[in-house]
Amino acid sequence: MMDAFQFEFMQNALAAGLLASIICGVMGSIVVVNRIVFLSGGIAHTAYGGIGLAFFMGWPYLVGTLGFSLAAAMIMAAVTLKARHRADTLIGVFWAVGMAVGIILIDLSPGYNVDLMSYLFGSILTVPDTDLWIMGAISVVIVAFVAFYYADILALSYDEEFARIRGVPVTALYFLLIAMLTVTIVMVIQVVGLILVIALLTIPPFIMERYARSLAVMMVGATALGMVFTISGLWLSCSFNLTSGASIILVAGGAFFLNLMVQRFFLTSRKNADG
C-alpha cells in the first residue's frame, strides 16, 4: 500500500483527501443535524452556473463561482429560514437552473470547453500545491470559527426558536454558516468534484450521528471516518486502476450500508431479548 503513496501526485491526492475530510466532517455534521443536505446539494449544483459564468466572462474561477454560488445560497438560506416547508421546491429549481445556466454559458464560451466529468468527479490525482494551501487555510478558518461559536451553533441547530430567545444571533449565524458551507463546497468541488463533496458531507456525519453523544464528537468522528474512506478509496483506485473519486465514494457507501445492517441487526436482537 505504501508503494503507491511514494509518488508526489499520490501524496498530494492524499493531502487533498484528508483536508476535504476535515472540512466536510465539520461542516457536514452541521449540515446533517440541521437537515440541510438538500440545500447543500442545491448549492453544489448551482455552483456549476458560476463556473459557466466565470468561463463566459473570462473571470477567474473563484471570483465567478464563489460570487454566483454565494448569491444563490443566500437566497436559498433566506427561504429555508422563513418558509421551511416551501424550501425544497425552490432549492430544486435553483439546482436545475444553475446547472442549465452553467452548461449554456459554457456552450456559448468561445474555444475552451470544460469537461463536465471533471466537475462531477474532480481530479484528485492532479491537485496542484496552491489548491492544497487554500484548502489548508480554509480548514483552519472553519475549525476555528466552529470552535469559537460552538455553543451558539449547537443551540441554533438543536432548537432554533429557543436559541433566539436566549439571545443567540440566529439569523446572522445561520447566514454565516451557509456562506461558510458555500465556500467549502466551491473549494472542495474544484479538488475532489461535486459528487465526492456531497458524499463526504453526508455519509461520515450520518454514520456518526447515531453513536456520538455530542456534536463535537460527531464532527471529530466524521472527520476520522472521512479520512479512512479517502485513504482506502485511493488505495483501491491505485491497486485496481479505478477512478479515484468514485472509489472513495463506493468505500463510503459500502460503510454506510454496512452500518445500516449492523444497526438493524442489533435493533432486532435487542428487541428479541426484551420480548
Binding site: 438543536y158 429557543f162 433566539r164 436566549r166 439571545g167
Partner: protein, 261 residues
Amino acid sequence: MPENNVQSDAFPLVRIEDLDFSYSGRPVLQNINLSVHENDFIAMIGPNGGGKTTLLKLMLGLLKPERGTVTVLGDRPDRVSHQIGYVPQNVNINPSFPVTSLDVVLMGKLAPGQRWAKDKAQNRSDAVAALSRIGMADYIHARIGELSGGQRQRVFIARALVTRPKLLLLDEPTASIDSRGQADFYKLLRQLNAEVTIIVVSHDLPIITGYVKSVACVNQRLHYHPHAEITGAMMEDLYPCTVEAVCPVARVTHPAPNTPV
C-alpha cells in the same frame, strides 16, 4: 378588562395592552389585555388554533404585535427574552440529535453577549442541580433521543429553570405525559410557583384547576378568570368539561350571541 383592577397595583411582570395579531390576514388574537403579576400561576386554556401559543410567542418577542403593546419585565420582550424560562410545545425536536440532557440544559445558560465557556464549572453544576431538582439526576449523560417523552419534557423544564427566571412559560407541557404523571407534574409546578411566576398552556382542564391560581381563556379574545371565579370544586362539577362549557370567550366564534362579561 375590569378584571385587571382586581389584581394588585404592583408593576406587572407582563403587561399586554390592546393587542391584535393576525397570520397573513387571518386574525388570531384581537383586543387582548392581560397583566401578569409576581407569583401568579395562570392556566391558559382554549381550543386549538385559538391563539394560546401565539400569545406566548408574543410575550417572548418571537412575534411582533400588529397593534398594541407587550411589556415584559418593564421592557420590550425581545430584549428580555433571555430572562424568561420557556418550555416549548414540541418535545420531539430532533430526537436523533447527538446531544445529552446536560448539554440541552446548558443551552439555557446562553445569554446575549455572554459565552457560557466563561463560567463552565459553575454552569455545569447549575445544570446538574436543575436536572436533579426535577428528578432527572440519573439521566444527566443520557442522549436526548433515549429518553421518554415525559423525561424529555423534564429536561426542557430544567433548561428553562437553569437561569432561575422570574417568569416561566410552558406550552402544553403534559402532552406526552400520562394522567398520573400529569398530577405529579402540576404538583411540581406548584412547588416552583413559590419562587417563579408561571403561565401554562394546557388542555388538562379538570386536573389543572386544582393547582393554578387563575385561568385565562384564549380564543381570539382573552377572558381572565381571577382566583375566586373558578375554583377547583367548581371545575370538578363540570367534568368532563370543555372550554366551551367554562368560558364565554370560547363561544366567540360561534353564531350564538356573545355573553357579556
